[in-house]
């Protein structure tokens, strides 16, 4: 579905990524974790073509318009109603306005926002806006879903419910997913495979961890699976080793959460 080989990228003279390689199989849920500012988002931006890599390859097993990209911020058009925002991508693919709006309402309903189509983004809560943004992406029926810390701004309860709803949709439609997150627990609960990105600059893949928890999953119950704890601890130790010997760098890990 997606293969990244030897990817390197710089912002001006600052090298951000070097020799990054990773893979997402068909129907696989992959997470990419790493400290803030290490270049996780940059990898996604390079995959979608918003940022040009200086070296390496991005191979896609799907057409560009079958990739859905969910941003960290719910960048909805503030002057468009929820349904119009969701319908935008469909309209750009040539669907008639009435059909696109009907489909948009359908997707909003599927994401628990039945009857919210006429609201402006300002009139929705953070969690609701996130659901609109998700509907906007899923309405295009993508085969590969790229997500950049999509739930980081939400409170814990909203976040858990939204993750569970998303996971169900992903499992039902057999979507391939690449999720960027700094939440190790979230990554483990959702993914089949977790990649660990090292600290930047010149960030690279520091480890890859298959998650042997069966599907379909419940994101809360997944945390009680016997493999969950040991795996979490192992990744956490590897993360910590990354930091040791780097005085003054510890604050980079401040954004990391580990459930204890």
């Amino acid at each position: 579905m997606l293969r990244v080989t030897d990817l390197a990228l710089s912002y001006g003279a600052t090298p951000v990524l070097e020799g990054v390689g990773m893979e997402v199989e068909d129907g696989e849920f992959v997470s990419l974790v790493g400290p803030s500012g290490s270049g996780k988002s940059t990898i996604l931006r390079a995959i979608i073509g918003l940022q040009a890599p200086s070296a390496g390859k991005v191979e896609l097993g799907v057409a560009k318009d079958k990739i859905g990209f969910l941003f960290q911020d719910d960048a909805l058009l503030p002057w468009r109603r929820a349904a119009e925002n969701v319908a935008l991508g469909l309209r750009l693919r040539g669907m008639a306005k009435a059909d696109a709006l009907a489909r948009a309402e359908e997707w909003l309903g599927r994401l628990g926002l039945h009857g919210f189509g006429a609201r402006y983004p300002r009139e929705l809560s953070g969690g609701q806006r996130k659901r609109v943004a998700l509907a906007q992406v899923l309405a295009l029926e993508p085969q590969l879903l790229l997500m950049d810390e999509p739930f980081s701004a939400l409170d814990a309860i909203t976040r858990a419910r939204l993750s569970q709803d998303l996971l169900k949709l992903v499992e039902d439609h057999r979507l391939s997913v690449l999720l960027v997150t700094h939440d190790l627990e979230e990554a483990l609960a959702l993914s089949d495979n977790v990649y660990l990105l090292s600290r930047g600059p010149k960030a690279r893949i520091a480890g890859q961890y298959p998650v042997p928890i069966p599907r379909p999953r419940d994101i809360i119950k997944a945390r009680t699976h016997p493999e969950f704890g040991p795996l979490l601890e192992r990744i956490w130790q590897n993360l910590s080793r990354e930091v040791v010997g780097e005085p003054g760098k510890d604050e980079q890990w401040a954004g990391f959460s580990i459930g204890l």
Binding site: L50, D65, A75, L77, P78, W79, L88, R122, E123, Q136
Partner: protein, 252 residues
């Protein structure tokens, strides 16, 4: 009964009434020189004479024509130049210094020049009013487009939108919102331009009447005219606020 006094508007009106009464009483007592500071009743009489005799209408019409003409042309030209500068770096290079210069000087200093170029008729007033508005709108649009939310642009691109879509879905609504947000200021500028232009040289208009009142030492007429200008500009303020609210309902 007590409720009505809880409203700020009620208290403001009472304050105004007290001020007018004290003012009138001071005038009656002979504490104010009527040549400099006529009483409210005298100003009211001058105001009444302006409207009852119908003398004010052609002057009001002239000022409104100049201000609204300058406003319309200023907004259109300001939007076009601002957008052009934001899109084409060459235009920005040429226009930016000129605009910064025009923005730095009080633009009304050009009023006498416009009279020489365009005569004492309507054209020189429209030109001054236009210049005041156009520079404001130029900066509104120019900086606005450059500061458009990158996230929205990228969002639309990843959904498959091209340049046309970006223009229609992101840039146009953003620019409209900024221009509408500055519309009230622009209206104020447009009337400043018109009245100052008339003040310098004209045969008609509220500014001309003001200059006439000054040359005849008629303070009552002057204050009456100031009142007329305030009321009409306020009405246009309310209208532009209504328009802004209506067109940017998404902002709430």
């Amino acid at each position: 009964m007590g409720r009505i006094f809880d409203r700020p508007l009620t208290r403001q009106l009472i304050g105004l009434a007290v001020l007018l009464i004290v003012w009138q009483a001071a005038a009656n007592a002979g504490w104010l020189n009527p040549l400099y500071m006529p009483s409210p009743v005298k100003i009211g009489a001058a105001l009444y004479a302006l409207f009852a005799g119908g003398t004010i209408w052609p002057h009001l019409a002239a000022t409104f024509a100049a201000a609204l003409g300058g406003l319309a042309i200023g907004v259109i030209v300001g939007v076009i130049l601002g957008a052009a500068a934001a899109i084409l770096p060459v235009i920005a290079e040429l226009l930016e210094p000129v605009m910064i210069l025009l923005n730095a000087v009080p633009r009304v200093v050009l009023a006498p020049l416009f009279v020489i170029w365009l005569g004492i008729g309507l054209a020189s007033k429209v030109a001054l009013s236009f210049l005041l508005v156009a520079v404001l709108i130029f900066f509104t649009v120019y900086t606005g487009i450059r500061q458009v939310d990158r996230k929205l642009v990228e969002r639309v691109i990843t959904l498959g939108g091209g340049r046309g879509t970006l223009l229609r879905e992101v840039y146009m609504p953003s620019v409209t919102a900024w221009v509408l947000g500055n519309l009230k200021v622009a209206v104020g500028f447009a009337f400043t331009g018109a009245v100052v232009g008339e003040f310098v040289a004209a045969t008609k208009g509220l500014g001309y009447l003001l200059s006439f009142a000054q040359s005849t030492y008629n303070a009552a007429l002057m204050l009456a005219l100031v009142l007329v200008i305030m009321v009409f500009v306020l009405l246009i303020f309310i209208a532009s606020e209504w328009l802004e609210k209506r067109l940017t309902r998404w902002r709430g």
